[in-house]
């Protein structure tokens, strides 16, 4: 059975990264922006996994496991901050956060 070339994984991850960047730039809803950040993190993870496919010491795989943990922590904290922002501003669109001072 032939193996899948690494470059295919890299193309998919480039696509995911570009999509995440576009979501970050297009959307105004904060939760949407968070989803874009998650897409970017996963694109990086796919790169790490694809390279550790040919690495006997599996360094990319270990790093991607820790990236997963950090991504989850970021998600929990960010959603808590979004809730708090919603309580103060009654809005979660990024262009509606105006300082009162």
């Amino acid at each position: 059975m032939t193996d899948i070339p690494v470059i295919y994984f890299l193309w998919v991850s480039a696509f995911l990264f570009a999509t995440g960047i576009s979501i970050l730039l297009v959307k105004k809803n904060t939760i949407f922006v968070l989803m874009g950040i998650e897409l970017i993190l996963n694109a990086a993870n796919l790169n790490l996994v694809a390279f550790s496919k040919n690495d006997p010491s599996l360094q990319g795989l270990y790093l991607s496991i820790f990236v997963l943990v950090v991504g989850v922590c970021e998600m929990a904290i960010a959603l808590a901050i979004i809730l708090q922002v919603y309580r103060n501003y009654r809005a979660i669109e990024v262009d509606q956060f105006k300082s009162e001072y």
Binding site: S52, L58, L61
Partner: protein
């Protein structure tokens, strides 16, 4: 074409297509569902890259944890218009052309870079399940980062509950 490549193409199309629909949709709930499909496709891609441990962890964490968190976030910040009774789930967006062209140029630049790179071809393939190696490595060589990740998770969760609580 080998069946492995066909499976890869199907999974890559699932991943990229649902990511595109995440970009295209204006409805936050539809985007959450599209993100679920993206994560399923990514887990399949991880399996094809012989990282089955990471695929299972990815499914557990993203489908079981992050997606539920996002759905709760959507529900808790759901604004209902008192006049019409409708809610404002739709994101308002403007100026599509510039962000799309920036995203497209990112993709084309990365594509060019990856295709040109001389460092990704002709590496030896070690194709096998890596469950045993990862389990051993996490408890011997990478034991300290592993424990640190656990403490980090604890700190993040306590911090999240503290930030999200009502401070009035």
């Amino acid at each position: 074409m080998s069946p492995l490549v066909i499976a890869f193409l199907v999974l890559a199309m699932l991943t990229c297509g649902s990511a595109l629909s995440m970009l295209w949709t204006k409805n936050l709930l539809h985007a959450a569902l599209a993100m679920f499909l993206t994560m399923l496709g990514l887990a399949g891609l991880y399996v094809l890259a012989y990282a089955d441990v990471l695929a299972v962890a990815h499914l557990l964490v993203y489908v079981g944890g992050v997606l539920i968190l996002i759905l709760f976030g959507i529900m808790l910040t759901n604004q209902t218009d008192p006049a019409t009774g409708k809610n404002h789930l739709m994101t308002r967006e403007s100026g599509r052309l510039l962000p799309f062209s920036i995203g497209l140029s990112f993709f084309l630049g990365l594509f060019w870079l990856f295709t040109k790179g001389p460092w990704i071809n002709n590496l030896p393939v070690t194709g096998d399940s890596k469950l045993k190696e990862v389990g051993l490595g996490l408890l011997t060589e990478y034991a300290f980062p592993f424990e640190l990740a656990g403490v980090f998770l604890l700190i993040a969760l306590i911090g999240a509950t503290f930030v999200a609580k009502n401070h009035d």
